[in-house]
Amino acid sequence: MPESMHSGPDTFEVKMPKRFTFDDNHKFHLLMMEMAGSKSNMLILDMQRTEFIDSAGLGLLLLAKEKAAKSGKLITIRNPQTYVSKLFSTTRFNELFRIEQ
């Protein structure tokens, strides 16, 4: 499950799960609501341990981007590993999101 790691004045950080799939839908939505209501202007999704994202997980990322944009926040995806980086490259999600290695 995705977990909130840190919520500060500047960043709202989420530790993403090993596999990010439809099963994480509810928890991720709750985190995004928390993020939207926070004072942080930057959402960081830490994918250090994420080995796999399915199409539902990619859809959740798009929803998060929309929600963040509506509340004037930016999203950064941090530390995507080999498989996830390749997936972002194939789907050009690396052009939709700010990626930080």
């Binding site: 090993k18 799939t21 439809f22 080995e51 796999f52 399915d54 199409s55 539902a56 990619l58 859809g59 959740l60 798009l62 929803l63 929309e66 498989y83 490259s89 194939t90 789907t91 050009r92 052009e95 939709l96």
Partner: protein, 256 residues
């Protein structure tokens, strides 16, 4: 067996109808037999939805003399949501009559992307690969909207992974797509597959992966395509821990 000879609880008849409607989007065997006879192109496939219906579909149609179009689509999500979006995408595809759009893959994908951007909800999308085989000059011209990279195997068994990056349909209304071209000569084979083929996990949580699929294709270069599909599907089933989590689609094109 159909809904008419089963005593199904209320609601199941609709599900059976949806399943049958979905099957109608897939190519009829008669069309594939005709393509094999006329164009010396053998098309084999396997489709297995993970729910009562699916979000994957594929197809293959002659466009005009010596040109054959083929595609594979995967709408995000499962069940009714992805099935409805698959019906939409298939309808948009069927509506395209302009031969110059059909013959130029990036044009066709751009048209579909514009339409899907208008109807999909935020967070929904479809990956799509579209190619046109030119039998006159033995090539395939293709474009992709984020679909898994197809695998091309030549008659000597050598493997080439096709570049297939692109925004999935419905994600970015300003997305641009481009064409790629590869040789596709007599006895060559092209493998198209949905992400579920490689993204299957075993009991230890290890993914099947593209490498295993490529190895299987390499080791079975001399086998007939239907036998290879059976091997891929059975290998996948043996590897998989638990039920399918996504629709499984494989379609293979071989020049005879």
């Amino acid at each position: 067996m159909t809904a008419s000879n089963l005593k199904l609880p209320k609601g199941c008849f609709d599900v059976e109808q949806v399943r049958r409607m979905f099957q109608m989007m897939l190519p009829k065997q008669q069309v594939l037999d005709d393509i094999e006879t006329r164009f010396k192109l053998r098309v084999s496939s396997h489709f297995e939805p993970c729910d009562f219906t699916g979000g994957d579909f594929w197809g293959c149609n002659p466009v005009c003399d010596q040109y054959i179009a083929f595609y594979i689509a995967d709408c995000s999500g499962h069940g009714f949501t992805s099935a409805i979006n698959a019906f939409r995408l298939h309808s948009f595809l069927e509506d395209i009559e302009d031969i110059y759009i059909k013959l130029i893959p990036y044009n066709l994908i751009s048209v579909l992307n514009a339409k899907m951007c208008q109807v999909l909800l935020p967070g929904q999308f479809a990956t799509f690969f579209y190619g046109v085989i030119n039998l006159d000059n033995d090539t395939i011209t293709y474009a992709s909207a984020g679909a898994p990279s197809p695998i091309l195997q030549n008659k000597n068994g050598n493997i080439k992974i096709l570049e297939s990056s692109g925004f999935p349909l419905g994600v970015n209304p300003d997305a641009t797509y481009s064409n790629n071209k590869v040789n596709f000569k007599k006895s060559d084979r092209l493998f198209l597959y949905s992400d579920a083929v490689a993204e299957t996990f075993n009991k230890k949580g290890v993914m099947y992966g593209e490498d295993k699929l490529i190895k299987m294709i390499s080791e079975n270069a001399k086998n007939k395509v239907p036998d290879l599909i059976s091997k891929i599907v059975s290998s996948q089933k043996r590897y998989r821990h638990g039920p399918l989590h996504d629709d499984l689609t494989v379609s293979i094109y071989q020049r005879l």
